[in-house]
Symmetry: C2
Subunit: 310 residues, 2 copies
Amino acid sequence: MRTIRKAAPLAGIATVERDTGLSKDTLRVWERRYGFPNPSRDSNGGRVYTSEQFEKLRVLRRLIDSGIRPGEIVAEPLHVLAARVQALPLRIPRAEGEAAVASAALRLLKSHQVGELRALLSRSLMQLGLQRFVLEVAAPLNERVGNAWIDGDLQIFEEHLYAEQMQHLLRQAIASLAQDAQSPRVLLTTLPGEKHRLGLLMAEACLSVEGAQCISLGVETPAWDIVQAAKAHRVDIVGLSFSQAMPLKAAHEGLFDLRKRLDRQCLLWAGGNVWQRTRKDIPGVTTIASLAAIADALQAWRKQHVVDDH
Amino acid sequence: MRTIRKAAPLAGIATVERDTGLSKDTLRVWERRYGFPNPSRDSNGGRVYTSEQFEKLRVLRRLIDSGIRPGEIVAEPLHVLAARVQALPLRIPRAEGEAAVASAALRLLKSHQVGELRALLSRSLMQLGLQRFVLEVAAPLNERVGNAWIDGDLQIFEEHLYAEQMQHLLRQAIASLAQDAQSPRVLLTTLPGEKHRLGLLMAEACLSVEGAQCISLGVETPAWDIVQAAKAHRVDIVGLSFSQAMPLKAAHEGLFDLRKRLDRQCLLWAGGNVWQRTRKDIPGVTTIASLAAIADALQAWRKQHVVDDH
DNA sequence: ACCTGATATTTGTCCTAGACAAATGGAATA
DNA sequence: TATTCCATTTGTCTAGGACAAATATCAGGT
């Protein structure tokens, strides 16, 4: 029960773990091996990180997630790392209009015009419809907000605010949709450690648009409880969402574990950005690499199950 | 990168941490001090827990969350612990009429009738209006769901499901309310460590009903970011929500710290169940002991500020 | 009886430094 | 070009020791 945080620019190891996603073990072993981060110590020998170190760790994390190995870059000074982040391949914007709305939204977010932001998104939702809104506005905007935070263009509170607004909007839209009895019952949640609500909510939106009966448990449900819930609600499919922040290893492990304990007949779908970076399959688990693929997967399910029903 | 699991009912320390919420350090130190859990080891000395140990850890966690100290119970055999869970004290229900809807909702939740639950709550909201719904249905139901979880009457996934449904409903209701330019701008969030979203959302509902302009950052915003956000949005009031789960000391400390760094003119309101159990004041902080008191506080603010404006 | 303050015990987090397997990169081979 | 093998990199795990925050216990005063 060490003091977790003190003044604004200094943070203990627990805080750094929480806010960078790097485990305490990793932070310590980097310090031992590479000499970075090199935190000062409090009166009791506890590590105290400066905001500069924190910033560099964030950038490092971003680069490592993109496939670069830690040993090659930990020693580099921050400005070199920042340059490498800039040089990272950008996802190609799909349509033309999508980039425009996202840029406008980002600008409004930065200038703290909440009402205008909400109005813009709401209008865009009305124009495009939920499905296209999620695919063409929400998902790209999500990514850009994430990047902007890592680059230091956005404060944490601005990201919080964005997430909150988008949640409001999506929930409202989902609530107004009808459910189709012919469609599968889907249990939606994430595994412990994955706190990204918006990914889950976007998935729920895509499923609901297709008429699926979604039962969302929110975020971070332990595997054991997922099994219980699937049984209790007799769902056809368990859908899990994984953001980029989730370490691939943990995702694999959790899915493997869950598949073993789940009922045979219950399908297990794993969606989220992680799956774009791997092609390793887990037997009995359907990976869904993009939000757009959700509709296809659902269509496929329908084709297979329309006969067997009853 | 140790091999985490082998045969069916066995789990490594990482899995147990994930699914019980007990940290690796805690598991190891319990083993050292109390001799439980006493996992066997794999070929490399890694801990391998049985499903019995896992189950007992779950029950232990429930009891500890209810206030019992680990040292008193870790040594007890599982069936004794189960008995203690049953013997846990129950809370007294408040009024009579309000209990009816809450009881019905709880029953539906337990029998997994999601559609019916949603319909019941929705109907109740329409009948009572948002303000009364929050005070007379949502808040008591919240409490009962919390208690039921501690008593083992509800699974975690059932609590998750409840929270999700209630969030949907409240957000929808809030979104449909108009804002009053005469009313204060309120920044809403919780401090790190306080993860209870529903309390925050209920507060937002009560404030919105009165026409306040709420800017919610969601949950767990670091103090430094709250200060930045308050400045950026030029809010009149910062509102923080604290559930019973929050240790009183941490709440005091966080508020004291925040008050120091916040702008003089910006008011600081602290709400939530914690404040019913203390009367110690923090200078410059208004504690609001119940949801019903929010309306009064807002009225008082209006009376004081209607003249000063412009 | 109830509050208040000092003292003792409990409890979780953090520390060091060593070990090892999974993932990765590159070279040699088919 | 594709596959196999070896060396390096990397993150997770281990063992006790240390310590401060949280909690319980007990004293004395109102």
